[in-house]
């Protein structure tokens, strides 16, 4: 599962529409589901992908079943009834198949849209902000459905600005802000942007922290982050942590905790997007 992250207006939806052959690229090249992105391949590409737009775009006057029947025919799937049944089971909506889409909650409409996207058994599934506007319970349900798809081996291209969503679901992410800022696995991005650090907490402040931390193996530097909290830059936490522990004990410190400092995908994102903001301000 690939996450495409960026603030509003960064170009996430435009990218999905471009890859989905809805709008023509102005430059560059791409291959989608094995086909070069070109006007003559539009139908073949659309045959192998599915897009779930940000807005479900259901025919509200029609029932769930009627909506899915229409799209099963548009995707020209064989044995449409069993495919519809499978899609409805995947999103737990079999019992509501006859309900008019206009009577459904926002979360249920998203689930219908997801079922619709699954009808064609796509090689690549584009999900454009699938949980936007959903309450936490509905968003969690959609997450579970997406994870289920990932386990079934569907390639998923997820655009979102919800970083916890990307961190939870995605194997690889790209961060863009009109241009691509970075791409990689979330842990790789963290390693690229942030050096490994240990956070040390003691009961009382150390009398001479410089003497305790300086010269220890794999420790590059240190700084005090609070009255009794120290942050150590380390090259290898596996080597550094035992050495730091021994040094603290030898210094008679009452150690509360020693742990590796965790950076979230949000830290990576903010670091990159803040750079853009600073650059934009300096241009202005």
């Amino acid at each position: 599962m690939f996450g495409f992250l960026g603030p509003n207006g960064a170009g996430k939806t435009t990218m999905v529409r471009t890859l989905g052959t809805l709008i023509a690229p102005t430059s560059g090249s791409a291959t989608v589901a094995g086909f070069p992105l070109a006007p003559e391949n539009g139908v073949e590409i659309r045959r192998r992908i599915a897009i779930m737009p940000e807005s479900p775009g259901l025919y509200l006057r029609l029932s769930i079943l009627e909506n899915l029947e229409c799209f099963a025919d548009l995707y020209e799937v064989s044995d449409p009834l069993s495919r519809i049944d499978r899609a409805l089971r995947a999103v737990n909506l079999v019992a509501r198949a006859q309900d008019a889409c206009g009577t459904l909650s926002k979360g249920l409409r998203q689930r219908v849209a997801l079922a619709r996207a699954l009808l064609g058994d796509p090689d690549v599934l584009f999900l454009d902000e699938p949980t936007v506007g959903l309450d936490p319970v509905a968003a969690h349900e959609v997450h579970e459905l997406i994870l289920g798809l990932r386990e079934r081996g569907v390639t998923i291209f997820l655009t979102t600005h919800r970083l916890e969503e990307a961190e939870r679901l995605c194997d690889r992410v790209a961060i863009l802000n009109t241009t691509l800022r970075t791409i990689g696995r979330p842990d790789e991005l963290r390693d690229q942007l942030f050096s490994t650090a240990l956070t040390v907490r003691t009961l009382v402040a150390l009398a001479e922290p410089g003497r305790v931390f300086t010269g220890l193996p794999a420790v590059g530097g240190w700084q005090q982050d609070g009255p009794a909290v120290y942050s150590l830059t380390v090259s290898d936490s596996v080597v550094a942590a035992p050495a730091v522990t021994r040094a603290l004990v030898a210094a008679g410190a009452d150690v509360l905790s020693i742990g590796e400092k965790q950076h979230s995908l949000e830290d990576v994102y903010l670091e990159l997007i803040d750079d853009d903001t600073v650059a934009a301000r300096s241009w202005a």
Binding site: L22, P53, S55, G57, Y59, L62, F71, L74, E76, G120
Partner: protein, 240 residues
Amino acid sequence: MGVSVRSVRAIIRKELREYRHTRSLIVAMAIFPLIFIIQPLVAVVALAASASESLRHEHVLLYMLGVPTLVPVFIAAYAVAGERQQGTLEPALTTPIRREEFLLGKALAALVPSLVVAYAVYAVFLALVGLFAQPGIASALIQGPDLLAQVLFTPLLACWSIWVGIAVSTRSSDVRVAQQLGVLASLPPVFAVVLIAFNVIPVTPALAIGCAAALLILDALGWRLASRLFDRERLITGTR
């Protein structure tokens, strides 16, 4: 390029299902036929038998061709602008359907109810004239060539109106504006029909064949013209 019958059929079926639930379309489809049927019927029923001689030289019933000209434009004008307004256009266009198939499905879905309404209104009108008008008036009004013209020109005019309505719909973001512009754009054939009905333009077999041929060509060109105007990118992003 082959046309996918299944895709076209999917659009037709979806459209017909939606019409059933769209009250504004049903009202629009009912209003025009009522306008076309009530006033002329009252006038015909009130006519004295002596008026039959002058009626024999006119083609008043051709006036009823206004029904297949005006009814379908309402449905067709909704075709693209309505989907765009509902936000359903983008999901439909992400499927493998080609724009020509999409528009053909829309056009055929508009044609079916339009023909049913037009022929039904005409049949009802003839029945009421036969029942309530003076015998001489009924026989003067109901002429074989006029009946033939009605049967042949109804689908030709309806197709023309549908393509005009769809073309307007592809360039409009508001359904009501599309419907109003569509009606305006389909008025010229109505005027032509009225002029023929009241003998301002004399009817000859050559004129009838010429009009039919011209409409056939326009109907064939209409599909291509509407397809060209259907710009996926502009319709989805609202730009260009």
